[in-house]
């Protein structure tokens, strides 16, 4: 790996300042579970690595007006253990499905949200868009793990975040600090992700000098249930082939509000309004859940090797909906 400066700020403002240096050729160290891979493979070569772990404000979970404020450095293990997060079932399900104890203990929620794509063309040095001599290697290449939705542009990788689908389904917001040291803004997580047209655009709206400090979860309400369903080939450490996070509000057994977000199917977490529409006004049954799954993938445009992912994504949505229903019925 290339040499880099190591910076260890104590405050958010310091962090923003340190990240803005070198024309933004900096990288954030949170848990470091993926940064290490990226540096060693030479996929990124930052001039400075900014370690956030001494910033105490980024740790912990606290109740605030309007919800729950979760520090970006909160580990997956803390998500599983913190009683304040217990009602957010879908998040616990995601943290649990990561399976690897090492990642659960070391990996952070903020790191997961900003995780760079696992696309093997990207990781083998062909850039975020997986191109060689201007041509996409992904389009006619080995794309079995690539996008089936939102893949008509240059970006064909899938968003790597495990938590984003469920968090977006919850209507979570992220607090972004920087680039001015004193500047911060709350942004709905749904709008945090972008699909780049050029390899240098990045996968989120974060600009040089900016970072995610917190995640704001809305307050829990009765009649609201959440669930996640990730399809993993391996029981051990593995990335989902597709996943779904859902949040349902019901009354009298009828869905009043539904948020359905798919993961690992598109360059961003994929909010499916069609799936929501298929559920609203219905009671949750095998049929209505299946209809939501159908709706979620109706506009899929699979690549040469990943049509199977359409089936998997459909299943993930259906099972996440059914899992949420079981929660509402008090069935584990």
């Amino acid at each position: 790996m290339s040499s880099f400066e190591y910076a260890s700020p104590n405050t958010e403002a310091e962090a923003a300042e340190m990240l803005a240096a070198h024309g933004g050729q900096t990288a954030i160290l949170a848990g470091g579970t993926d940064l290490h891979n990226l540096l060693r493979a030479g996929v990124i070569a930052p001039r400075r690595v900014v370690d956030l772990k001494n910033i105490s404000s980024l740790q912990g979970v606290s109740m605030v007006s309007g919800g729950l404020l979760v520090g970006a450095l909160t580990t997956l293990d803390e998500i599983l253990r913190n009683p304040l997060l217990a009602p957010y079932q879908s998040l616990l399900q995601v943290a649990d499905a990561v399976h690897s104890i090492q990642i659960q203990v070391q990996g952070t929620l903020g790191g997961d949200l900003c995780h760079l794509p696992n696309c093997w063309y990207y990781r083998n040095g062909y850039g975020l868009l997986g191109k060689e001599k201007g041509e996409s290697l992904v389009a006619g290449g080995r794309n079995q793990f690539h996008a089936i939705l939102g893949n008509q542009g240059s970006a064909k990788y899938v968003s790597a975040s495990r938590f984003a689908p469920s968090l977006i389904a919850w209507g979570a917001q992220v607090r972004i600090v920087g680039p001015d040291p004193d500047q911060s803004a709350m942004v709905p997580l749904e709008y945090f992700y972008v699909t780049p047209k050029s390899p240098n655009q990045g996968v989120t709206i974060l600009q040089p000098g900016q970072f995610v400090s917190h995640i704001l979860l809305p307050e829990i309400r009765d009649e609201l249930a959440s669930a996640s369903y990730e399809v993993l080939q391996l029981e051990g450490l593995d990335w989902p082939l597709a996943s779904a996070g859902v949040c349902l509000t019901t009354s009298a057994g009828i869905v009043r509000e539904a948020r359905v977000v798919l993961g690992h199917v598109a360059p961003t977490p994929w909010v499916s309004h069609d799936a929501s529409l298929a559920l609203v006004g219905q009671s949750i049954t095998e049929e209505s859940a299946a209809a939501a799954g159908e709706a979620a993938v109706a506009s899929a445009t699979p690549l040469s090797e990943n049509e199977y992912k359409v089936t998997i994504a459909r299943t993930a949505v259906k099972r996440a909906v059914l899992r949420a229903m079981h929660q509402l019925q008090g069935v584990s």
């Binding site: 083998n124 029981e235 299943t315």
Partner: protein, 715 residues
């Protein structure tokens, strides 16, 4: 005096042999006290890093080794390729750098890479598409074989099945990658080598280094696996020795994981189009297959000698085409090439059974008459035991006719055979006057329990506790012993040690007989005593004291045809699994293996070999695969994220049943290391077909292939 003959004792009288005994090196391995090659770190050791090719086919047109020789920390540079040399697969080594620190070596490799220029050549990496390969002029006929009259047999057959089956290339995946630690002491070279061939590698180092083999000591105390990929000194081993010489410092060079996957050895792929037919009774009458696949750039493929595996049907026709791919070269992979032969034969037979509307169990039972090596009757017994354990008759349902719901359960089976005869082994056994016992041999324990087996053999023979004997192996300075490949080690080392220990014991008996005025013929050694009939004559220590000052030293050799060892094992495996038709995921519920292997020295170690075989089999059946990118020619999943291996949560309940009636004990010791890995591919494929009602023709059975097959597409 009665004639003294080598032989094993009565089974009922064994104290250690055949029991379940934990590995004698379990504690040192579990605590990390056991030092592997990758752990070797003598004072001043330099770190080595490798520059390998990102091109699958190219000519090296420029490289400047001088440019990096003066970089910080760099102590030696080695060129694998000269300007003008060809690169034939991605990952092929170009140069190595040894430096004070790992990151300095990495920096130097990066700097070296910047000086390297290539003329990129046409590559071809598509092992499965024989038509494309032919068009690219990458195919070569590898011969045909015929027996009987297939055409005639097909005309009168009751059922004819045509199918396509395949199994992709996989890479060797030892926990400890290939590599060595090389240190010069004057003209002598000490090599710690991760090897399956302690006795066979010194000369491989000596020749290219221009020294005598007697100057080389190869040491391998502990191994993180070999599986057939570690018989050579390898060019990177020679490079480590050369750089150590150049630097005047020890050098450790272990392949990084990506390079290990690319060049550490692959298992060839095999694909077939087959027509197979049976008579009204369900007996196979004809087999006609066309094969293709690759073993790397040399073409080749899976050797068809034993197709259809392991049967000898009355009418057989087979032909093979090899595909030359710009992919890493193959190396023997646990039971070569039986896993592939099994995985492309027995699914076709199972499909024929389905066409006949026969229970697969009945079909295989009926066709055991055609199995090679006269093992039909043993297979039948093993099938009955396996079926009972997995509850076959109760659980089996016609293909695709299981319970409703998205998760489908299925049963499948397959059977296998392997030689496992004893390898060459010489050991020196020493009995010291104080009663201590030790042996020396240039064999190796590649993780299979060889140390434990040897100690059990010596202790049983000499009537001592396991702690009363010691084995020294893993050095090429000890008496020569064969490489550990072909499952020949257990027979080789146990035979040689039994002979040595019996010979030594007889000499001791003679001394005891003379001293205590008893007949040597009536003496036995048990529980640390020498007995005459049931009467104690003296203790083991008292007997050994009769040696005087000098230890008794005896050489044991093998193999011999004295009944201590023999060959040819077989086994039957049955699997109960579930397929989630909503996700394509295959989950193993229960996997039963019934295995014969002659006389068992340590049942726990034997079962551990079987369990390891099943897990490795589940890996290549469900997840493990070399994925080549046609456009770039690169091994695109050469990392442990995307080269998927099952964890303990993926393997289900594994049941290892050792088939061991007295008839097996009487056959003597036979190797077991490889055979349990042969049948899982076919058994799992058959169970998936039984579950979902369609064949997923190509291994591994990933969610993609399962869902594609369900959709009626080409998996």
């Amino acid at each position: 005096m009665a004639e003294r003959k080598f032989g094993w004792g009565k089974r009922s009288e064994n104290v250690l042999i055949g029991k379940s005994i934990p590995r004698i090196d379990a504690a040192v391995k579990a605590t990390g006290a056991a030092k592997y090659t990758a752990d070797t770190n003598s004072k001043g050791t330099l770190f080595a890093r490798l520059l390998s090719s990102k091109h699958a086919a190219a000519k090296l047109t420029a490289i400047d080794l001088e440019a990096v020789k003066n970089l910080p920390g760099v102590k030696a540079v080695h060129a694998f390729k000269e300007v003008g040399d060809e690169i034939r697969w991605e990952g092929e080594l170009i140069a190595a750098v040894a430096a004070e620190r790992a990151e300095q070596a990495e920096d130097a490799v990066k700097a070296l890479e910047a000086t390297a220029k290539f003329e990129v050549l046409e590559h071809f990496v598509d092992e499965a598409d024989v038509a494309r390969a032919a068009f690219a002029n990458r195919t070569k006929g590898l011969g045909k074989a015929n027996k009987g009259d297939v055409e005639e047999a097909l005309k009168t057959a009751k059922a004819v099945h045509k199918g396509f089956y395949g199994i992709h290339t996989i890479s060797h995946m030892c926990l400890e990658p290939h590599g060595s630690h090389c240190e010069w002491k004057g003209d002598d070279l000490d090599v710690h080598l991760s090897t399956q061939s302690v006795s066979g590698t010194p000369s491989q180092f000596a020749e290219p280094l221009g020294i005598d083999a007697s100057n080389v000591t190869v040491t391998a105390n502990y191994e993180g696996g070999g599986f057939g990929s570690k018989f050579q000194a390898d060019e990177w081993g020679i490079a480590a020795a050369k750089m150590a010489k150049e630097a005047g410092r020890p050098v450790r060079l272990m392949l990084d994981r990506a390079t290990e996957l690319k060049i550490g050895g692959t298992r060839p792929s095999g694909f077939i189009d087959v027509t197979v037919a049976a008579d009204a009774d369900g007996k196979v009458v004809a087999w006609d297959s066309i094969h293709w696949g690759t073993a790397g750039v040399g073409g080749g493929g899976v050797d068809l000698g034993q197709m259809p595996y392991p049967f000898d049907f009355p009418n057989v026709s087979k032909a093979q085409v090899g595909i030359s791919c710009n992919t890493g070269p193959n190396r023997a992979w646990r039971a070569p090439p039986h896993p592939q032969l099994c995985a492309i034969t027995q699914p076709a037979l199972d499909d024929l059974a389905a066409k006949l509307k026969m229970d697969s169990y009945d079909f295989f039972m009926k066709n055991l008459v055609f199995t090679q090596h006269g093992k039909g009757e043993v297979y039948a017994e093993e099938m009955k035991i396996a079926a009972k354990e997995i509850d076959w008759k109760k659980k089996w349902h016609p293909r695709g006719k299981g319970a409703a719901g998205p998760v489908k359960q299925g049963l499948g089976m397959a059977l296998h055979t392997w030689g496992g005869g004893p390898g060459a082994c010489t050991c020196t056994l020493k009995i010291h006057p104080d009663g201590a016992v030790e042996s020396f041999l240039g064999s190796q324990d590649i993780g299979t329990g060889t140390r434990t087996i040897i100690c059990i053999t010596m202790a049983e023979t000499l009537g001592l506790p396991l702690e009363g004997v010691k084995v020294n192996l893993g050095s090429s300075k000890y008496p020569a012993s064969a490489p550990s490949g072909g499952s020949i080690t257990v027979g080789g080392v146990s035979g040689a040690h039994r002979r040595a220990a019996q010979t030594a014991l007889w000499k001791l008996f003679d001394l005891v007989a003379a001293k205590y005025k008893v007949e040597a013929d009536g003496l036995t050694a048990k529980d640390g005593n020498i007995l005459n009939g049931k009467d104690k004559v003296c203790t083991w220590k008292q007997a050994c004291a009769l040696l005087g000052q000098m230890p008794l030293e005896v050489q044991g050799k093998g193999p011999e045809k004295d009944g201590l060892t023999s060959e040819r094992v077989g086994g039957v495996q049955m699997v109960d699994l579930s397929v989630d038709t909503g996700t394509g995921l295959v989950r193993i519920n229960k996997f039963v293996s019934v295995q014969d292997c002659g006389m068992i020295i340590d049942e726990l170690t034997a079962k551990s070999q079987v369990l390891g075989g099943l897990i490795m089999g589940i890996a290549y059946a469900l997840t493990e695969e070399q994925i080549m990118d046609n456009k770039t020619g690169r091994y695109i999943n050469a990392d442990l994220l995307n080269y998927k291996l099952p964890g303990i949560g993926d393997v289900g309940e594994l049941v290892a049943i050792m088939y061991q009636p007295d008839s097996e004990y009487d056959r003597g010791v036979i190797g077991l290391g490889e055979p349990p890995v042969i049948a899982p591919g076919a058994a799992i494929s058959n169970a998936v077909a039984n579950a979902i009602g369609v064949r997923v023709p190509v291994l591994p059975l990933t969610p993609k292939r399962v869902l594609d097959a369900l959709k009626g597409g080409q998996a």
